[in-house]
Point group: C2
Chain length 341, copies 2
């Protein structure tokens, strides 16, 4: 990690963690088991609600917000409530996703529903959603004008609605055989890109930038999210196990309809047939990858990833970010975009 | 129904329905099946997403908001977004409650999870939660000042957090044998009273009333909610089947720990033993009701209901509501409080 990003992260992340711990009642005595479930999910306590030293997550999203605010000429500390709200929103969605996907573990620990049951886990997610909103309200305490707070609220909830729409599409796609590349881009825009877009937009908004600059920051985040997701799709098929930490071709084994697969399905009827009937085994994986290589699915996905990456970096450049935070923001974007295939 | 309440309801309810239909995309063409699930839950379309004439619910909560706004000297139309947001919030919580309670039907129709499955129903509720917030944002379009909108947001989400905390306690109580009357009052405050309190508070807030008056409206709603719930508890044991529409002693058959039962359990060890081990049959019901009658559980509950009712009416009186809406508000409160036992 380069110096600017390292320095600013070390300054920002503890303040972010403090903000989140305050709104999620981490310092309350006696501890409340209701908030305990949320604290567990955040990685602060274990299943017996005892504090742990573990690190809860990479906190990339809130870091984007804080860096964008500073790079747009604002004070990053003013954007802390927005950054914390986004990270709590992201975590709320994971609590519900884990129920929807019936995932027993996350980050090597049991998921909330797997410890406290589905009914309490649904309710725990709802509570975190409410807390995320209350965190946005705290912008008022950092001298952000009320008009800006209302606008932050509107953008926050428009994004939440897009996230749930993306999640709807994602679940719907699993049962459909007619998903096209365009549908897929809409889906990942909702599931991934709008949230990264909100991160950078709210940073610029709190920095009181003009409309044009705010739009460039939003577009920087959106394209960054799209590029990130498409790269993830490529890694899910052609990724190097030793670098990604996932087993090779994991998305083929699960028959996940990612961008390269959808591109191949639109062009190859043998592949369509295989996805309709075959049970994935080693032979299936080998044949699918062969067909995808032949149809040029990898080149297509790589070219789309490059287009999104270039658009992201262009929007960042024309937004004219300043100072150490500008450097750090470029570095963070590069880290997200230059993962080894 | 008396004239004032009837007249104002006829004026307000269609406008409320319009506001909710707009934010839930009822008029969009082509219709979006994602919003279709929400429209189904609201009672506007059937499971095939075809429009129906059915009436979706009593809309008591939003009516309280609109009447409170008008009675507090405001224009009720300014409070429409707040009223619609509260009704959508209430309905979101029902979508998730139905999953948590595994309820197959509601208002004589299949529940959302029972048609579209649990994962989509969880996500549908989350989406409605986001829409409820976006509806609050629409206060800005009705000339409510941004400071007031931010305050409405804070109170809205503090209430959401209280609702989830109440729901947590309710589910937790089912598995516990040490629930006391005080815990129960906390639980119903969260599950029922805070939402009615929000209704009347936001009405007065939008009417730009001073702090003291806003507090009286909030306390009117809170006490009304507590009285309503305790009366519901009494009806659940001693209610007249022909009037309540529920079978007699329904809460005893399900061993629900309502206020009269908890009062009895704190005072009678035979009852404790029965609730710990016995399977509810006709004999169980008869014996429990007998014990409750002996311990004075009914008188206790009736006296608490009276205290809350009196407090509600006192707070309304000192808030000095004006005009036709003041009459209508009293009438609505009386309807909620004077259900036949």
């Amino acid at each position: 990690m380069s110096d600017e990003l390292k320095n600013l992260s070390q300054e920002m992340l503890p303040a972010l963690e403090d903000e989140m711990r305050t709104v999620l009642k981490m310092e309350d005595t006696p501890p409340d088991p209701f908030f305990g479930m949320m604290q567990y999910h955040m990685g602060w306590v274990d299943a017996q609600l005892q504090p742990v030293d573990e690190y809860g997550g990479k906190r990339i999203r809130p870091l984007l917000t804080l860096l964008a605010c500073q790079a747009a000429g604002g004070k990053w500390s003013q954007a802390l409530p927005a950054a914390a709200a986004i990270e709590i929103l992201h975590n709320f969605s994971l609590v519900h996703d884990d129920i929807e996907d019936a995932s027993p573990t996350r980050r090597g620990r049991k998921t909330v529903w797997n410890i406290w049951g589905e009914p309490q886990a649904i309710n725990c997610g709802d509570a975190m959603f409410a807390v995320a909103h209350l965190t946005i309200c705290r912008l008022s305490e950092r001298d952000v004008p009320p008009e800006t707070v209302v606008r932050a609220f509107r953008r926050f909830d428009e994004t939440c609605l897009n996230l749930t729409h993306g999640q709807y599409r994602d679940m719907d796609f699993e049962t459909r055989n007619d998903v096209r590349v365009d549908d897929y881009i809409k889906m990942i825009t909702g599931k991934t890109a709008v949230l990264l877009s909100l991160c950078t937009e709210l940073g610029a908004l709190v920095a009181a930038q003009d409309e044009e600059v705010i739009t460039h920051y939003a577009e920087f985040g959106r394209n960054l999210g799209l590029a990130f997701q498409v790269i993830d799709d490529i890694l899910g098929i052609w990724g190097d196990e030793t670098k990604t930490g996932k087993s090779a071709a994991t998305d083929i084994v699960t028959k996940k309809k990612t961008l390269p697969v959808l591109y191949g399905l639109e062009r190859n009827s043998a592949l369509q047939e295989m996805y309709r009937v075959a049970e994935p085994d080693n032979d299936f994986v080998r044949q699918v990858v062969e067909i995808l290589d032949q149809t040029g699915a990898r080149e297509y996905a790589e070219s789309r990833a490059s287009t999104y990456s270039a658009a992201a970096l262009w929007h960042l450049e024309v937004a004219r970010p300043v100072g150490e935070a500008a450097e750090a923001l470029s570095q963070l974007a590069a880290m997200l975009l230059q993962r080894d295939y």
